[in-house]
Symmetry: D2
């Protein structure tokens, strides 16, 4: 399978279309199985006690899955998040970046559904899991 | 029913314990039925097209429900978000603040569960709904 | 607002189109604010200890919201459940029926979203909450 | 890792403690990675059009994850489902059994969290995904 957008194209898209948050993220991997996105944890992402805030983890999961969808359908798309369900499993490590790994479960004509595991870098157990649904634009698509 | 923390106490708690985000929010109401929390929408909350970002709405819902729980159990508590499920229903109005209204469904010994509706100020239909679950500290509590 | 299907029409639809489960349910109310649906609790709905099973509560919430959507868009529709998020809050009363109360949050062209509270009959605190999303058929609809 | 309950012990537990539904299910696999549970699809699980009902898929996911938790903590436990989030992705195949594959994401002192993929037998793409949370009894446990 050829990706509609490869890693370089996705990174350029992120910088251009999400200028408010692009500096928070680094795209580590994009291939047919999904993407790995890094949250460069900084003080603005933290809560008392040094833990990463829930909204920062939500943003990481949302951007990661958005890029995974674009990698398959291309940049003309305007996917909109319609549902997000997150389980917060463990306290993230202080001082470690977070890594999100995506898994696309469905890419339909109207809806895309996937889930994301979020890890503290270097740790095997996930700190959060997110299930995300996106409504897709309804221009006809090949395939 | 008397609240364990009233509106002034909750507002002071927000300022002191969440200095990174307190300026984003204004507590409009706190009574036995729940709280109303305002997100003062600023450019850092926006996405392309002028809409409020998903993570900003998530943060609003999470802080609102957290304050609603504290209003009942007091500031010694350290509630931790364990699950959040959000439906994004409509595009928020550009240039309008968001208001979150909480509803506490369960306040048990170990878990608190509630939901939140988020509105663009002045509009009747919600832009988002969130269901939130919190693990509660297990010190014995009266009542 | 006039309903596309009133209480009698919805009850007839339930009997005709869901013969496997229609006997489990009784429609108590249908008006513009939503529907109230009763689960006639029987031994097949129970788990050890006399509590109503999770799947039985899920079925109640799903059928209730489905009828609430049909009351607005009419019987030609073929809504499909795409997402369900349930919080199980309290153990249902043994020997009591369950009542589901719907709230429709969005009725769009492509998606309908609502939530449901489930009560043991005669008790004020909900035993479960469900958020439900349905994909709608895309025939043009007035209004 | 040694399981607290192996496949035979789990199957016996299912038969004894869930007599109402045990005949619906067959445990295909139980190992440290999780369990595979089969729903023997019968007419009582179907909806108009021959598709498996949402509640039947919910029951399959719930029982599968419950058994996966018991395989780790043993039969004395009384885990209670507190949250379930399901995405219905594709219409199940008519005439095919369903298979649920579990993944345990967290086994804490108080909460267990996992997710489940549901497949029509012989097909590679999942028909549903469920995220499940269980409250655990709080007797001290080793490890």
């Amino acid at each position: 399978m050829t990706l509609a957008m490869d890693k370089a194209a996705l990174a350029a898209f992120l910088t251009r279309d999400f200028p408010q948050v692009a500096a928070d993220f680094a795209l580590e991997r994009a291939d047919p199985a999904g993407v790995t996105l890094r949250l460069r944890v900084a003080s603005r992402h933290l809560r008392p006690g040094g833990t990463v805030s829930g909204p920062a983890m939500f943003a990481l999961a949302d951007v990661a899955m958005y890029l995974a969808i674009l990698s398959r359908i291309g940049p003309e798309a305007l996917a909109v998040t319609t549902n997000a369900a997150m389980d917060f499993l463990r306290k993230p490590e202080a001082g470690a970046d977070l890594l999100a790994e995506t898994r696309l479960l469905k890419l339909g004509r109207r809806l895309a559904v996937g889930d994301v595991l979020v890890f503290s870098e270097g740790k095997p157990d996930p700190v959060a899991r997110a299930g995300m649904t996106y409504a897709l634009p309804q221009a006809p698509r090949g395939g």
